[in-house]
Symmetry: C2
Subunit: 256 residues, 2 copies
């Protein structure tokens, strides 16, 4: 049997330690192509590049057997380019990450890492986004690698329905190890913004976006709770955003 | 009773005809602040600006009673800045658009217009994204204005739960008028990409993203079908992306 074809992407850029560690794990599972942004794209959400041109060129980053391509666009652009231009055939699996920092709960909608996985799922390719709850460039990815390997193999074995991908978040590896894996729902959480207002050297005002994370969700079945308890969280994520529970209510309103 | 406070945003930029028409309608309903991008941000999805600074300055665009602010960031940045820095209090309503072009079905996840509405809903503010199925800068927004007015007033009257906003799409005004409004679910559709590969004057390759829209959904209750039938479509959109139907299946997999 031929090896599975695996596409690796991320949003921290092709040289980030997270994607190099993810690539290493994937090299043990299949034939790997890395198509990733040439620079950090954190917080890019599901952005695509339609007003500008895109570059996508082969590069050599390390001595691994994978093929690396550096792309000028967003994570979603990378997936589109990979699937339509770079790869020899439709991949069997797309993995995105490992992100430096959490994409749990509401972070999923701001995340370029997760948008790459969502884009893969839209094209009918089983896709997973991985994130480690550690923003440091020196983060220790070692302890989570066996779990990343296992989750990827499970997705290859079972497949995923079109339009559904997995959002995997991994606690920081600073304790006695992981307690295991928990399948969860997305916690109802949010960011409360606090803009940092400053003045430039010419006296004109500008802002830095900053904020505090707020979890409103007391549920024991959420990703936030799983992570807090030391588990790796897996949330199945869908691209159908319809709030089905609101349809009946809206039908009673007077729109005409 | 004091007038409702309304925030107007978009992704086509503060001078786009769509946002000027939307502002005109909102001026008839409440006290209006426009906080919108200084340049086109189509396809920006839920992107936020965290690696760069943000500018947000008052500008005068026309002679209307609204207060206009031009912002260097994405549509989501605009909503965050407006709510946290610009507005005198939390707004009663956020309207985004009127987008030049469709945000029906899967377009919702790529859309900066809709991401502004989603961001508003996360902050607990009733929010609506409006889009006209006409990309032209000369599009005729006249015929849809009474519907935009009516939908906004209904949302002000009834409110919306936190985390849920409305995605309103409006057919191109080239027929005998609109048949009415239909509450719908998001159609299961997708873009099939066809990259346009070119060479720059120095012989290096680049790409333009292009594609064809594919509707896989035969349902009569979708936004695509409503629009095809000449109706204005309203889809309630939620920020909880959990694919609840997959939780049971995933719990049977062997992750450890």
């Amino acid at each position: 049997m031929s090896k599975p074809l695996i596409l690796v992407c991320n949003d921290d850029g092709i040289t980030a330690p997270g994607i190099r560690n993810l690539t290493e794990v994937m090299n043990g599972i299949g034939e790997v192509y890395v198509v990733a942004p040439d620079s950090p794209q954190s917080g890019m959400g599901h952005a695509i590049t339609i007003e500008k041109t895109l570059r996508c060129d082969p590069v050599v980053i390390d001595e691994g057997p994978q093929k690396d391509f550096s792309c000028s666009g967003t994570p979603v652009d990378c997936v589109k380019l990979a699937v339509n231009v770079v790869l020899p055939r439709k991949p069997d699996l797309i993995v995105s990450g490992i992100n430096h920092g959490s994409n749990s709960s509401i972070n999923v909608i701001y995340s370029g890492t997760m948008s790459a996985a969502v884009e893969g799922s839209l094209e009918g390719i089983p896709s997973i986004g991985f994130s480690l709850l550690d923003y440091s460039w020196q983060a220790d990815f070692g302890p989570c690698k066996p779990f990343v390997d296992r989750i990827a193999r499970q997705v290859l074995e079972h497949g995923l329905p079109r339009g559904i991908c997995l959002n995997v978040n991994i606690p920081k590896a600073d304790g006695p190890g992981y307690k295991g894996v928990r399948v969860c729902r997305q916690a109802d959480a949010n960011w409360v913004e606090e803009f940092d207002a400053r003045q430039d050297p010419r006296g004109r005002g500008y802002y830095w976006l900053t904020g505090t994370f707020k979890n409103y969700d007391p549920g024991s079945d959420t990703d936030e709770q799983a992570l807090k308890d030391g588990f790796i969280s897996i949330v199945p994520v869908q691209s159908d955003l319809t709030a089905k529970g609101m349809l009946e209510t809206l039908n009673k309103w007077s729109f005409e």
